[in-house]
Symmetry: C2
Subunit: 320 residues, 2 copies
């Protein structure tokens, strides 16, 4: 089999994890799943390592996130971090990174992953990847993984993972997104990324390529996948005490059940000892950072967006 | 009328306002009533000023609280802060301070006040004091104020305020607490406070003197008195928004009702901007300090004592 390369898509923004997530520190850079010390993107690269070594891992991120992303992935060669000057959705992202990899290795097999998901059963995940690469991508198909629904199993869920030969994706973009193909060719021929990338059409790989390509290989997968969609999901993934509380070290929960507490203060003040105590409350999310504290019921935690909106409305840009 | 002197009793400890209150920073040193910038003890001295100038205000506190108390009362002459080496309840406290005042002014009229209460109607309060001093203390009675109960008004509530001529209290202690009288006389004759004070009997002025003295003058008072007994009480006294939330400046409450939020971080980090946001929660108390954060339902806020007990149990003395 040809060498396998990974493209990690790490341009994500979003406000569902405010106040932990910010424009300059989006979800993938935060430790939001089961390991309170490992960011989602670091876990993404780690779990691929037995199949795809860091020497063949490429990461596409926003220019404003380049330094923070590099800091999370110290072992990924710096030249393999691709900085998008502006966000243009997933088709330009995947198309550009694929061309960079194809220039290095024309026979490359490429696997694309989101940077901000969680996978519980990593062995099963890697077995699925191998199948997707061998029976799908290596055979010339644009390939995706369909997550089997636990309830009913009548649907397959697209988890944003794609597998293909570099040349197959290039040709699919030429066929279905000719404007994108033209721009990517200009970049491949030495055109300036900062000038050309903003002119690319903003379109998703799903809508722009995968929905139009036929045949498409879909490999079923069942490996405890989660898109870590919000604090509720983070609570479900986190280690919990006997009362269902997910707490930082040293926190106290007295007659308190099923709460999620995160102390995400930065290293400058994070080294200061601070005790967080919950008494008689249940099903709350409490998140503390250096400059913000939020308290919200767990089942309403997606509403932290309203706080971001309110901060925007009053011009509090530094907190967003 | 003779000159009026005040004794402010400021030895209080207690855990009902944890994490804001600590051994080294008890309730009276905190801004827990309607003015978020004035400590209860500073408010106590301020509201007396039209009747009793600071030159005649004495403050009895614990030795370990002397510096912090002085910092809250910069205009009270330092020599009028009396440091009790150990707590010995209110009779030794009042007895000692009264002897100090009597030595300065044998005709002194003395008014004793707790340092950690709130009074809403200060004009009515001062009118009651004048009556207590003129018709009670000046006439030779041990005098107290009976707070009229709003509901039913069948009881009078002893609010810990006492009024007397210096010599009358000295003689009452000689009559009812001879051991205490002996110790106080030794101190008055130049005995070392640090040696003698710990030998004094620990007894309250109510039990040791007032209950035994007869006749006793009781002046009825109705001036919006509160002993600020806990966070519930502090919430009742605090300015609130239209949804009943008592919030620090800049805090956000979205679909949140009747919450109490206090940001009591110290000046070192308190100058850092921090937004506290509540979303979809009601009737909570949220208190943040430099080294602790507590979240508790308002009607269970007295249970923060359990946190203090838990911290003690695990040896976390610095947080108590």
């Amino acid at each position: 089999m040809q060498s396998v390369y990974a493209i990690i898509m790490a341009g994500g923004a979003g406000t569902r994890f405010w106040p932990a997530s910010r424009r300059a520190r989006p979800k993938q850079l935060l430790p939001l799943a089961s390991d309170p010390k490992q960011s989602l993107i670091a876990a993404t690269v780690r779990r691929l390592a037995p199949l795809i070594p860091k020497e063949r891992v490429y990461v596409a991120t926003g220019a404003h996130l380049l330094e923070a992303t590099a800091a999370e992935l110290p072992d990924v060669p710096r030249g393999q971090l691709l900085a998008e000057p502006v966000p243009r959705n997933t088709a330009p992202c995947i198309g550009w990174a694929s061309r960079v990899i194809e220039a290095r290795d024309p026979d490359a097999l490429i696997a694309v992953f989101p940077s901000d998901h969680h996978i519980a059963d990593e062995a099963a995940f890697r077995a699925t990847l191998e199948k997707a690469l061998e029976t799908g991508a290596a055979a010339g198909y644009l390939t995706t993984i369909g997550i089997t629904y636990v309830a009913g199993k009548k649907h397959l869920w697209n988890a944003g993972m794609f597998f293909f030969r570099a040349g197959v994706m290039r040709k699919a973009i030429e066929a279905h997104l000719p404007d994108l193909a033209t721009g990517l060719a200009q970049i491949a021929e030495g055109g300036e990324v900062d000038r050309i990338f903003p002119t690319l059409p903003s379109v998703s790989i799903d809508h722009g390529v995968m929905e139009k390509a036929s045949p498409l290989a879909v490999i079923k997968g069942d490996f405890g996948w989660s898109d870590v969609g919000g604090w509720q999901s983070a609570w479900e993934l986190a280690p919990k005490d006997a009362q269902g509380n997910a707490l930082p070290e040293g926190a106290l929960a007295i007659e308190a059940q099923r709460n999620m507490v995160r102390d995400m203060r930065g290293a400058d003040v994070g080294m200061r000892k601070k005790v967080i105590a919950l008494v008689g409350v249940s099903d709350l999310v409490v998140v503390e950072t250096d400059d913000a504290l939020v308290v919200v019921p767990r089942d309403r935690s997606h509403e932290v967006r309203a706080v971001v909106d309110a901060l925007k409305a009053r011009g509090d840009e530094s907190l967003i």
